[in-house]
């Protein structure tokens, strides 16, 4: 009987070994399906961006790309898993601005965003919009700023939880105006938008991925976009600078990373593939529908992403500290 077991085991192990044997050499890369970890749950904006890019990259690389959602703890669980994955180019991470805010928001991260990853390239920078419920009194951004200065904590500001884009934007806004509003956290953007549509809360600042269709339909009021230029999807919405809010620039940038130690040739190949993917018509069109655009080819490079990560990490360390948020 024992013999039966050991025989079975041996057969199974042999079969398994045959299955899992693969060469990690750069020249025949990619020889097996690639996994991109998204550190958020399926269906969210980051997940959507990833799936769009993954589809296009998969065509370029001639290999299947699987998107794996590892959500939790503000994206740090998925990032941690990617950091410890084999550096063979078959496990990648697509993360957003949270990569740079995590060191300020979380204690004892098991990875260092800047040294444990090999950056591949920037993917997109999603603009933010400052929006309010339909019947909120201020008409323009100037009115709004005056209104906030005057009413301060009587204004309710929705955010989608710790580390969410909407929370970061709120911090930055309150920092710029040197006043406090009453922050109302939600479990994600969906419920926050529901309450904004229902007029239960006053205002919010969130990514165009979440707000564009609502603004276009006139369901919510838009005051400004947080990019230097107006965006195509919302031509009537002024930039923050036009509306009198200087030096207020914020975009939710997304980057693609490999674990540190990945063969530079593979990183190079992935970066080239990312640039090809971002240049395709389908990606450009889908991104435009979301109110964003692919970054230009010279940004979809390891160097550009590394620099972005470094400067943003520094910026958010200051803003988060100024907002009095203690890391968890």
């Amino acid at each position: 009987m024992r013999k039966t077991i050991s025989t079975l085991l041996a057969v199974a192990l042999a079969a398994g070994a045959a299955f899992s044997a693969h060469g990690a050499a750069a020249q025949d890369y990619p020889a097996q399906p690639i996994t991109i970890i998204v550190p958020f749950s399926a269906g969210g904006p980051t997940d959507t961006v990833t799936r769009l890019v993954a589809q296009a990259m998969s065509e370029d690389l001639g290999q299947q790309i699987v998107v794996q959602n590892v959500g939790g703890a503000g994206g740090t669980l998925g990032a941690a898993q990617a950091a410890t994955a084999a550096a063979d180019g078959y496990t990648l991470l697509l993360h957003h601005i949270g990569m740079s805010t995590a060191p300020a928001l979380y204690q004892s991260l098991p990875y260092d965003p800047q040294t444990d990853f090999a950056p591949i390239g920037l993917v997109t920078e999603v603009p933010m919009t400052i929006v309010a419920r339909r019947d909120f009194e201020p008409e323009t951004l100037e009115d709004l700023l005056a209104h906030i200065r005057e009413n301060g904590e009587n204004i309710t500001y929705a955010n989608a939880g710790v580390g969410a884009a909407s929370q970061l934007c709120g911090m930055l806004l309150m920092d710029a105006l040197d006043t406090r509003m009453t922050e109302v956290p939600y479990q994600g953007t969906g419920p926050a938008m529901t309450d904004l549509l229902g007029g239960q809360i006053d205002m919010m600042c969130d990514q165009t991925t979440n707000t564009t269709t609502q603004i276009q339909a006139g369901e919510i009021k838009a005051y400004a976009v947080t990019t230097p230029e107006r965006i195509d999807a919302l031509p009537d919405v002024p930039t923050a600078a036009e509306g009198g809010l200087e030096n207020f620039e914020l975009a939710i940038w997304h980057g693609l990373y490999a674990p540190v130690g990945t063969d530079p040739a593979i990183v190079e190949r992935l970066s080239a593939s990312l640039q090809t993917a971002l240049a395709t018509e389908t990606v450009a069109q889908s991104f435009a529908d979301l109110g964003t655009a692919p970054v230009p080819a010279d940004q979809a490079t390891p160097d550009a992403l590394a620099e972005k990560l470094a400067t943003q990490t520094e910026l958010w360390a200051e803003v988060v500290a100024a907002a009095g948020v203690t890391p968890q």
Binding site: R51, P185, A217
Partner: protein, 501 residues
């Protein structure tokens, strides 16, 4: 465009042979994957989502809707056959459905689930077609105070879930509420009860808790005395409903459909309550409430209808406002966007063929579900004739792999073992697992809405009684308690010695 021509447009899309084919494949795959222990509808859809990417938009979304119904029904099947719910509503189905299966009536239980779901789905689809925009507007008038009051009402009414001690059921609800609070506090980010593990920051996984307190605990109970189990399974008598069964399920299905359709529209937690509310209602209205929990067909018919109606009407906020009501709807949004459609208030006007096509296909999906699953009932029931010594290791292995595959989080698997032993101990000592699961799913919502209501009202608790909808709901809750307590006080006086609790 009037309703008839809109629906005509919708059916011209949905009845395209290719679309019917993909809808059927979706229903089939959804059922097969949803039946796996440890994999609920959310996980099923997340896993099967990529299959739809390469299809044209309408076809992809129609297939996805098929997957959704299939997954939902597959989850109920596992709940009935092996007491292993994959989502909160199936936990209610498991209470009486599993007992029916143990009594040799798995066939009628599964048929009831299929028929109830079909009827509810049909009614809810019509509601969706006719009244989606106004219903969505009405749902928006629900703010944090209203949701808080609704959940309080739901919790108080649901004490009826217990068929034993009310005191223990209350304690199980509260324990569930507390377990629901594990994880990072959304208001401050403070990690609570996480033992410093970041894997627990997102909270305990529902599937881990459900698989533990239902599935694993049941296996341990069966291992107590193995001869008893093999004798205990009665001969499967019939696969189909008797005339008497039909008579008994008519009203529960109708009431369940109504309750579910209304609750499903509310994006802040209504969907979760529907099955529990329906079960409570049926038990209250029954002439033999004590038989609930021992295999009452009404306890399957009501919740299954309510759940499916809610599943359908929860598309209303998504399709008309672009708001996801629950995780499955969030996945759907992702799927929409990948197809180049951003769900929002404009879809109905800009893409009428798509909008009405999806609605029509929901009905087609429900038809296919019944067509597919009624013949499959024989197959599922035959699964019960697998010797238990083979079946239970399979459940353990599938549950572990299934739970692991959701998030690749090994703590989700450890949690199965923890809740297996805790659940087994509590059940052995006369407690029931369903109230615990209800508390677990409602706990975070209860706290979230209470705290949000207080922040928005600037600390004034009177919002709960000055806002009319909230005040009405609280009054109903009070009424529910009075109705529940009065007769039991009277009875206690009469039956001091017979009262079993």
């Amino acid at each position: 465009m009037d309703l008839i021509s809109s629906l005509g447009l919708g059916f011209s899309v949905a009845l395209d042979p290719i679309n019917i084919l993909y809808c059927f494949i979706g229903v089939l795959l959804g059922t097969l994957v949803g039946v796996l222990p440890g994999i609920g509808p959310t996980a099923t859809i997340a896993m099967l989502l990529p299959i739809t990417f390469s299809l044209p938009a309408e076809t992809a979304l129609i297939m996805l809707a098929g997957i959704y119904y299939g997954a939902q029904y597959g989850g109920s099947t596992t709940a009935i056959l092996i007491n292993l719910p994959g989502e909160s509503s199936a936990a209610v189905t498991a209470i009486d459905g599993y007992q029916m299966a143990r009594n040799g009536r798995a066939g009628p239980a599964l048929a009831t689930a299929a028929l109830g779901s079909f009827f509810a789905g049909t009614v809810a689809t019509f509601l969706l077609a006719a009244f989606a925009p106004p219903l969505a507007r009405a749902a928006l008038s629900f703010g944090a105070p209203e949701y808080f009051s609704l959940i309080v009402l739901g919790l108080l009414v649901s004490i009826a879930l217990a068929h034993g001690s009310v005191l223990k059921a209350l304690a199980m609800i509260v324990l569930g509420l507390l377990l629901g609070m594990v994880g990072q506090d959304i208001y401050t980010g403070t990690p609570r009860f996480t033992f410093g593990l970041r894997e627990l920051f997102g909270g305990l996984n529902f599937v881990s808790v459900a698989v533990g307190v239902f599935g694993i605990a049941e296996i341990l109970r069966n291992l107590e005395d193995e001869t008893e189990r093999d004798v205990g399974i009665r001969k499967v008598t019939n696969l189909w409903l008797t005339r008497e069964d039909f008579r008994r399920i008519v009203w529960p299905v109708l009431r369940g459909t109504g309750l579910g359709a209304v609750l499903g529209v509310l994006p802040g937690g209504g969907h979760v309550l529907s099955a529990f509310a329906s079960y409570s209602a049926e038990k209250r209205l029954s002439k033999t409430p004590r038989e609930f929990g021992k295999g009452m067909i009404e306890g399957v018919a009501g919740p299954e209808s309510a759940n499916n109606a809610a599943a359908q009407t929860s598309f209303i906020p998504l399709m008309t406002l672009g708001i996801p009501a629950h995780p499955v709807m969030a996945l759907m949004i992702g799927a929409f966007i990948l197809q180049g459609i951003t769900p929002g208030p404009n879809v109905i006007n800009q893409q009428p063929a798509l909008f009405w096509g999806i609605i029509a296909s929901m009905w087609v999906g429900n038809v296919l579900l019944v067509v597919l699953n009624l013949p499959l009932i024989g197959l599922w029931v035959r699964m019960l004739s697998i010797p238990y010594r083979v079946l239970f290791p399979a459940i353990v292995v599938f549950a572990a792999i299934g739970t692991f595959s959701i998030n690749q989080n090994i703590y989700d698997v450890y949690a199965i073992a923890f809740f297996g032993i805790v659940g087994y101990a509590l059940i052995r000592f006369g407690c029931e697992p369903a109230p615990l699961l209800l508390g677990f799913v409602l706990g975070p919502l209860l706290e979230e809405h209470l705290r949000r209501a207080m922040i928005i009202s600037r600390g004034d608790p009177s919002v709960f009684v000055t806002r009319p909808i909230s005040a009405t709901l609280l009054a109903l809750a009070l009424l529910a308690v009075v109705i529940a307590v009065l007769p039991s006080i009277r009875r206690k006086r009469e039956e001091v010695f017979v009262e079993e609790d």
